[in-house]
């Protein structure tokens, strides 16, 4: 079945993994795993240069239909982040924003992160955030009910806390890709909060989609769950048919 992948990156990482980091690598993985769309942010933007990275990501998304763009925003550069959002969020290939607490060295509790989130909520209905504090995420979910928040890696080994967060807030979405394939977490989330707030994210091409697919398939998905988590939930968030 067709998959929509809500977690990917374009660009290099400082690790000795061959054949990664290019548009071609992403497209090859899309072909291999029947991925219809992949929403990606720029590794260059996360690691070094927000503006150059977003520009590179936009150029790739403009040229290759499967690629969709998260505009990377950085709480340390609020004005520039707003400018980046204003520049790209109106584009067809743009799906929302991406925040990374670790790479920006800014916890979700920081005032400047709250300021950035307010600016994001004014401009878009979707943000993906690399993990933060559950209390802050809950506050944002309540303060901005029209903003859908994808929680990347969904708290890793502390996934029950992420599931409780989703259970309490309908605009919280869980994305379980992780560098370790924790057993049982997908089934736990499905049983506790149902399939409607779980999206498929792979973290390609740092992580191969099959690594996360393995976690989903091992959960023994029903047809309804499979359709929801691999495609329909993401399609709804993206406004696709």
């Amino acid at each position: 079945m067709k998959i929509i992948d809500m977690h990917a990156h374009l660009g290099y990482w400082p690790f000795a993994i061959p054949n990664c980091g290019t548009v071609e690598a992403l497209l090859r993985l899309c072909d291999r795993y029947d991925i219809e769309y992949v929403a990606a942010s720029s590794s260059l933007a996360l690691n070094y240069d927000m503006q150059a990275g977003n520009e590179e990501m936009a150029e790739a998304a403009r040229a290759h239909e499967p690629l969709l763009m998260y505009v990377y925003v950085n709480p340390n550069f609020l004005a520039q982040s707003c400018a980046e959002m204003d520049r790209y969020l109106g584009e067809d290939f743009s799906v929302g924003c991406k925040i990374h607490t670790s790479y920006s060295a800014t916890p979700t509790s920081a005032p400047r992160m709250y300021e950035l989130m307010a600016e994001i909520a004014r401009r878009t209905s979707l943000v993906k955030i690399h993990p933060g504090d559950a209390e802050d995420l809950a506050r944002w979910a309540r303060a901005y009910p029209d903003l859908n928040i994808i929680v990347a890696h969904s708290f890793a080994t502390n996934y029950p806390a992420a599931v409780e967060l989703a259970l309490a807030h309908p605009n919280i979405y869980l994305d379980f890709c992780c560098s370790h394939a924790g057993r049982g977490k997908v089934r736990y989330a499905l049983d506790r909060c149902g399939p409607d707030q779980i999206v498929f994210g792979s973290d390609m091409d740092l992580i191969d989609p099959a690594f996360t697919i393995a976690m989903f398939e091992a959960a023994g998905l029903t047809d309804t769950e499979r359709q929801a988590v691999y495609r329909d939930n993401a399609a709804r968030l993206l406004g696709l048919a």
């Binding site: 000795a16 061959p18 191969d208 690594f211 398939e217």
Partner: protein, 242 residues
Amino acid sequence: MAGIIDMVTSFGIDRTREVDWGLETLLEILAGHDVERAYTCSLRAVHYAGPEGNDETLAACEEHEVLQPVAVLDPRRFFDQQDEARTRFEQGFRVFRFFPNLQGWPLEFLPFVRICETLAELGARVILPASGYGQATRAASVLGDLGLPVLLIGGSYGNIGELMAVLSAHDHFYCDAHMQDSPFALEGLMERGGEEQVLFGSNSPDREFLAPLLMARHAEITERQRQGYLRDNALRFLGEGA
């Protein structure tokens, strides 16, 4: 094709989470994946009492043919651990596993080195974690000259370059790949680390068995290399030839 040899499993209780890591759960996972042998240890030996846990491991392995025993040693206890190593070797344990990260001791810890010297004399094998930067390097520095076969587990994309360097410098060092989350990573490890030095460990039941298995299926390696990763390299590590 012969079945899989899984070098990294365990069973018992996780005191930090309400999850079922019991022996039956492990056996069910192994049965679902054509596993020929799984090397395992009781978590009781890790978190509570080594000898009691090792007894539990032995009992489980005697009852279930698919399981092979891995003894857990704790260098903090030092003297009796050398005796424990000898006793367990006489009982048929050939693989010994250490948990420095959980137990808080460094790899340069002299009691650990002395125990490993004993294990080398016995002709045993050792499993060590290598999940952080420098851990594989330190293991090679401390144990490299002993000739003791060492399996480094838990390395990820972060320290894959370090693993390649250590494996290529020491042909009696091996690594698993349950946290190498792309076929490219497995291909790279086999090409630059050593195609006979990368072997399968699932870390079941904590981790999803299917994830590293899919990486092996999708990797662009020869069938002989795939067979090596899933089975034959473990035999080499164990000294059984292949």
